[in-house]
Amino acid sequence: MRKIIHIVGLLSLPIIVSGCSDMGVKPWERDILAQQEMNLISDPIESSLNDHIYFSKEASSGGQGFGGGGCGCN
């Protein structure tokens, strides 16, 4: 029994160790995520109005939604 636990433990070690090594979006994969239709919103019209008001008030456009076309360079 103990042996089995050891073997299972050893076998699952690489999975645990490498578990989070490949998560997240790579900088060169941001193009699709930055597209309008990739926004996590339920109501596109309301959200675009909100965005419009937001960037008019903030004097900045883009940056809302996921990537905002961000390159990750700054």
């Binding site: 790579k26 900088p27 060169w28 994969e29 941001r30 193009d31 699709i32 930055a34 076309g69 390159c71 990750g72 360079c73 700054n74």
Partner: protein, 178 residues
């Protein structure tokens, strides 16, 4: 009396900073510690001709490998500069290779129509190269010496660093190949 050690420390630190080579010489990685560029044999299709080429084929030249995408603002800015330096240093053996990472090739093609590149553009639609090169932002440029080693890297493109980029290129071009 108690201030003395502080003074000495300060003087030593200042001296060290002034003498440290990284402040004065360009920040090229010395040839002895520089790593060879990965995937030099990978063949990628060229813009316009679709002919497949690899980095290996340009060995003996100083290569600026630039990873870019059409959706990235600074990449847009870097295009005219890359065209300029390619023209300026072509005779001395500089090769600018811009590797496109767009997942939708058509967007890249539209971009290229607008920003006519005066240098080699390759398509890496499957993103085979950036991971191992260590691209951490867009654009990222790698400067390879005549032996194919990565001697300098810069992330992003900043107009006020243009002189540094160019100095590094000039320095590598002037290096005598072993």
């Amino acid at each position: 009396m108690t201030k003395h050690p502080k003074c000495i420390l300060l003087a030593a630190l200042t001296g060290y900073l002034l003498l440290s080579s990284s402040l004065w010489a360009s920040d090229l990685t010395p040839s002895s510690t520089a790593k060879a560029a990965p995937h030099q044999a990978v063949m990628l299709p060229k813009y316009q001709t679709n002919q497949k080429v690899s980095l290996q084929m340009e060995k003996g030249k100083v290569i600026l490998v630039d990873f870019w995408a059409s959706w990235c603002g600074p990449c847009r800015e870097s295009f005219p500069w890359m065209t300029n330096i390619q023209a300026k240093y072509k005779g001395q053996g500089l090769k600018v290779i811009a590797i496109n990472l767009d997942q939708e090739k058509q967007q890249a093609l539209d971009f290229l129509k607008e920003f006519k590149p005066g240098f080699t553009v390759l398509f890496d639609t499957q993103a085979q190269l950036p991971e191992d090169f260590g691209v951490i932002g867009m654009p990222t440029s790698f400067l390879l010496d005549r032996q194919g080693k990565i001697r300098a890297t810069h992330v992003g493109f900043h107009q006020n660093n243009i002189n540094e980029y160019e100095a590094a290129i000039a320095e590598l071009l002037a290096e005598k190949g072993e």
